[in-house]
Symmetry: D2
Subunit: 151 residues, 4 copies
């Protein structure tokens, strides 16, 4: 069973400042750290407590495929905004599109796109096998998607 | 020249959720990551832009000594609050006291102390030599300390 | 100018044990950490001192695109072997193919493929602009590729 | 029951190159990363498989206290050697002394001391409570200490 076009997209944004720890000696954010920003943003979208509850029930989304394009670098002190769109379905496969942008310091200026990614997630059980997503979980995502799209 | 008892203490708090990246296979936050929380909190207290500006002027605080006590562990999904007290003076030496606590999920419950630290910072120049802190920087810290204590 | 089929491929392998720091609370290696293993392996292939020397001359390879497939998870105590093939050319573009495998504990057993990636690197100058790779650097890579293929 | 002066000290050294990921925009190794080097070195001293086996038996050493002195910074491309002395006893408390030094590039030159630490470890059970170390574990450490001192 594949994701259906009827499955809702969840979307949201979250911001992370660039601290010392995020940079390397080139002066810019170390490339692997964008995967941390993206993962934090997915957790924030669904809710950390919900992610944890799912894990304790034996359901756990893992990254199966990831394509990344690096457009521009960020520096210490920059504010990174991650925009996330996620489509969860009854099938084990979840799709995610994410973009990390640098928030402009001048209000009138546009954000600068830093890194974009498309991700294929797979829901796995405790044994690491792909698993169908239970109805109540799907309902939760749908309710979340609906409430977000209203605001 | 040593820190003077007249030098003001800057204090503030900041919160960080515990993401996947912060934990290890024991199920708890990896011990070294508390140093990241503490460093982020120091940056937030002074302001990331100010930290960066100082760096570009050739002034840079580095950790010279650190004592850490680990009281209790934190897990994925916990919310960590770092309380910071920092005393900067004209001498190169800055003193910091920081505590990371787990914010209680029930409003009435107290926070749980996780890790506490005392830190000796040293202001260094581009060559890595200890350097006296310029008056305007000290004035900035004093103004910041005063405005914070008013709120 | 694009990479030419005549440009040599550099290849090599390097091994990293999985420490506490590499795992998350799911019990497995945190996905972003494979990018660290891959990057370490590229540095080891070229030589850390050569990478640093290039950087000081104002030449710096950055990741422009990356495709990742996650096949199986690794745990604390596993030994990860990264196999790297890299093709550098006079054009700014470098191509890399890397695979992280788990070394089998029993000598007779095959390694288990964990994560594979294809990467497009771009050589940039200090201003972050794509830059042609100087002849002596190319000669260095060619000599390295030749000496490796002999062993 | 406290550590006894008769308990053996285990010691050993291990080396880690400084990769991009270890540095920050100041050009030097990010201070928290020394805790990673120290922890890796403790794991290497005891053996990753033994650490994992202990964990699966429900015994797990955690850091209770740590004192750190930062003497000099390290850069990308440096080779860091961590020297570790560890004293494990039947009591839950383990003591560790560690020093990270920069290996000199010229054979005749001395290493440069970077960071030193003293650590108090506590053996805990699955519930996080301090636990006495079983005799067979202690025997393992003693055998390890003896075999190392012979080499």
């Amino acid at each position: 069973m594949r994701p259906s076009p009827d499955d809702p997209w969840l979307d949201g944004t979250v911001r992370f400042p660039v601290y010392y720890e995020d940079t390397d000696f080139s002066g810019f954010v170390y490339h692997a750290n964008y995967l941390k920003y993206f993962e934090r943003a997915r957790e924030e979208l669904v809710g950390l407590d919900y992610v944890r509850g799912l894990y304790l029930r034996g359901i756990h989304y893992v990254v199966a495929r990831m394509e990344l394009s690096f457009h521009a670098p960020a520096q210490h002190g920059d504010l990174i905004e991650v925009a996330t769109r996620m489509r969860i379905s009854a099938s084990p496969i979840g799709l995610v599109e994410q973009t990390a942008s640098k928030v402009a310091r001048d209000a009138g200026k546009p954000a600068i796109k830093l890194v974009s990614t498309t991700i294929k997630l797979v829901a796995v059980d405790n044994a690491g096998e792909a698993t169908r997503v239970p109805d109540d979980v799907l309902d939760h995502y749908r309710a979340l998607a609906t409430s977000r799209s209203r605001t």
